[in-house]
Amino acid sequence: MRPGFSPRGGRGGFGDRGGRGRGGFGDRGGRGGFGDRGRGGFRGGRGGFRSPDGGGFRGRGGGRGAPRGRGGRGGFGAGKKVLVEPHRHEGVFICRGKEDALVTKNMVVGESVYGEKRINVEEGEAKIEYRAWNPFRSKLAAAILGGVDQIHIKPGAKVMYLGAASGTTVSHVSDIVGPEGLVYAVEFSHRSGRDLLNVAKKRTNIIPIIEDARHPHKYRMLVGMVDVIFADVAQPDQTRIVALNAHNFLKNGGHFVISIKANCIDSTAAPEAVFAAEVKKMGAENMKPQEQLTLEPYERDHAVVVGVYRPAPKKK
């Protein structure tokens, strides 16, 4: 059920710098580049270097920054006509233009979370803004483009996101579930937690939890029952982590979507063996896997497993 377009995805990093309200990323790239040059030992001439190289530098910084966004500068120039149509999954859209991209509807109009491209479309009188979703940075986007059957994250759903990091994919999940849904974002690292908190400030359907996901009882006060658990924790005992959270917070018949990194679980075993072992572990915890797919070509040795937790017994 592959959508029939080239999976360029949201490769936009640096499309139109001019029309961007938050051109910060370009400057950041430039300044970052400068810092590297400075460290190379050009200290004496630092003052002199600034002005003539300003313009050139931004380009270079941009060049260096773009690989971070894993994309070229192509895609959508300002003012080009593009067509946005809904994807098979509810809440996700495809933007058709010179290159196709996966997009979600921006809940906070006018703002980019991690410097991604924004697309404005007029539908009659309403102006709708969409944000490009980069499959190289987000496992969920890679899974969708890879053709996963069901992601179970839909408008109005309550999602628990384990391993939220700086909130880049969480923001897209928040876009999908919309104002009626809720996203409980769990992240342990303080550094990333700070960024996550900033994202959550703007989006009121994200509840940030700076806690270790291994101890769900520590944040039981903040969380209600959820419909879906999405896990991207990259820990060797991640199945146990998801199981603990599921036992506590996932409703009966709820679904889970787990991203497995083979290297992280066991770097010596073959990836297929690792995935099979993980699936077996899930079975022991009353979690029934329903589909599995690898994230080629976006990630190497990664797989996504979708399943159901405590399915309702089949009526005979």
């Binding site: 908190l197 903040l222 029952m225 036992h247």
Partner: protein, 539 residues
């Protein structure tokens, strides 16, 4: 049975109406499928709402740590204590233990309880009456934000990122300072090169250059507060016969600015160092006492944080900083390095080279304990560090004295020495150089026998012939060439030397002692020939 259920809005105490349903754990969820059914199983007994977000935050933090907060204590006393015969079902076993201890209420936590909690959670909004529908989610959002903020801001005093940043800045400053000082010397040296040679201290140089300015002013400037008298006199002398170029006011002005910068940065550097010392003493006092501030700060910076450093085993702490050498040695199966950053600790610095490895290992072991105490312990005193350091210093003294007592194990046992092997270091006198008169055959045989005996005692036949050759060659070349023969054992060299110096009496005695094994007749002949050659050459 009562159930304690915590929510973001407050504490809820439920009463289980139908305990028999709890027996069938697997079908319990069916009873909670609709609000009406749920109300038949449990009933809300009491709901203690949080007054404001501060109270909620306090309750949430207490919950995270597994302790009883004030509001929880209040609720429990008010409601549950009255029905002490009832058990209290809770979600956290640890909390249950604490409640039992402090309030003497029997708590229960089991898979059935966990299932019950799940079901209550699924019907949370309907079971807790008296709350407007969206309030719980709004409260949990607010509470989550304040809780996260609290976590991220936590404890500015114990934060070790300050140390990491300070030590990195110290290194950066040193590099910059060095660059600037070299530039200053170079630049001013065009005008007054002799000053650079006379004044070796960098900071004094910059201050002097600043004060002097143009070297024509030297006679009038007073440098006594910067330099010692002799140096000042030298400077004044050198200024008169200086071969530097003339420079304009503007140039001197700019050089002066650079000198100002250098002086300022030097001052800031010493200030920063004091700051670092203070922070280190505050954050990791035991580590500071054991290895010193700089080494301690570098260790913390290398590991990333004090907690990370505490997680490393002592063997890692020993070689932190020598990773390149470590992995290279591991890959090529050679010896791994014995010390990394810890090499610069004073305890390791003050030992002899032979003992540095041992001290480094011991220091790493004790330092690792100190680090863990600092990172995870609750007190902040330096007693433990001081004790450990005293122990280490005592051991160091023992090592240096090469004590025959063992360091570890039972103190009374004597250290094991090598098994005694008699290595004969007897020197033999070589009379071959004594007389220039060709000796009789009888004498030759006598000498040959001696030589053979000497040579036989420690070595095998194959080596003997080699040694005979060597001896011959050496004797021919003379004593000065002895050093060039690296294969020659020291004892052989000694023998040769003695051979040429000592008296024959020793020879005779030696002969008696070493009337030893049979030699091959061929060897005798070879040696005879060589001896003959030797003697001829000596003549």
């Amino acid at each position: 049975m009562l159930v304690l259920f915590e929510t973001a809005a407050g504490y809820a105490i439920f009463k289980v109406l139908d305990e028999s349903k709890l027996q069938q754990v697997d079908s319990l969820y069916k009873e909670f499928e609709t609000p009406e059914k749920a109300n038949k199983v449990v009933k809300l007994k009491h709901f203690e709402k949080f007054q404001d977000t501060t109270e909620a935050l306090a309750a949430a933090t207490a919950l995270t740590e597994g302790k009883i907060g004030k509001s929880l204590k209040k609720v429990l006393k008010k409601v549950v204590a009255k029905e002490a015969h009832e058990q209290l079902a809770i979600s956290d076993a640890k909390l249950g233990g604490v409640i039992k201890e402090k309030l003497d209420l029997s708590c229960v936590h089991s898979p059935a309880v966990a299932e019950l909690m799940r079901c209550i959670r699924s019907q949370m909004e309907t079971l807790i009456t008296g709350l407007p529908p969206k309030e719980i989610s709004a409260m949990s959002l607010g509470l989550a934000h304040s809780l996260s903020r609290y976590k991220l801001k936590f404890s500015p005093d114990k934060v070790d990122t300050m140390i990491v940043q300070a030590i990195s800045l110290l290194d950066d400053l040193d590099k910059e300072l060095n660059n600037y000082i070299m530039r200053c010397r170079e630049w001013y040296g065009w005008h007054f090169p002799e000053l650079g040679k006379v004044v070796t201290d960098n900071l004094a140089y910059c201050k002097a250059a600043r004060k002097i300015g143009d070297r024509t002013n030297v006679a009038t400037t007073d440098l006594s507060d910067l330099l010692p008298e002799e140096v000042e006199a030298e400077v004044k002398l050198a200024a008169e016969i200086s071969m530097g170029t003339e420079v304009s006011e503007q140039d001197i002005g700019n050089i002066g600015h650079l000198c100002d910068q250098v002086i300022e940065i030097s001052e800031y550097r010493s200030q920063l160092y004091d700051y670092l010392k203070n922070r280190m003493m505050a954050i990791a006092p035991n580590l500071t006492v054991m290895v010193g501030e700089l080494v301690g700060a570098r260790l913390i910076s290398h590991a990333g944080s004090l907690l990370n450093l505490a997680k490393h085993p002592a063997s890692t702490v020993q070689i932190l900083g020598a990773e390149k050498a470590l992995f290279r040695a591991l890959k090529t199966r050679k010896d791994t390095p014995k010390y990394g950053l810890i090499y610069h600790a004073s305890l390791v610095g003050q030992t002899t080279a032979k003992n540095k490895g041992k001290i480094s290992r011991m220091l790493a072991a004790k330092a690792s304990l100190a680090i863990r105490y600092d990172a995870l312990g609750e007190d902040t005193n330096a007693e433990m560090g001081a004790e450990n350091r005293a122990k280490l210093e005592a051991r160091l003294r023992q090592l240096e004295e090469k004590g025959i007592r063992r360091i570890s194990g039972t103190g009374k046992a004597m250290a094991k020495t090598d098994k005694y092997q008699h290595k004969s270091e007897v020197r033999m006198y070589d009379p071959s150089a004594d007389s220039t008169i060709p000796s009789t055959s009888k004498k030759r045989k006598f000498e040959e026998v001696e030589e053979e005996d000497e040579e036989e005692t420690p070595t095998t036949p194959a080596v003997k012939s080699k040694k005979a050759k060597k001896e011959a060659a050496a004797a021919a070349e003379g004593e000065e060439e002895e050093a060039a023969e690296t294969d020659e054992t020291p004892k052989k060299k000694k023998k040769k030397k003695k051979d040429k110096k000592a008296a024959e009496e020793e020879e005779a005695m030696e002969e008696e002692q070493e009337e030893a094994p049979v030699t091959e007749s061929e060897k005798k002949k070879k040696k005879k020939k060589k001896k003959a050659k030797e003697e001829e050459e000596d003549e």
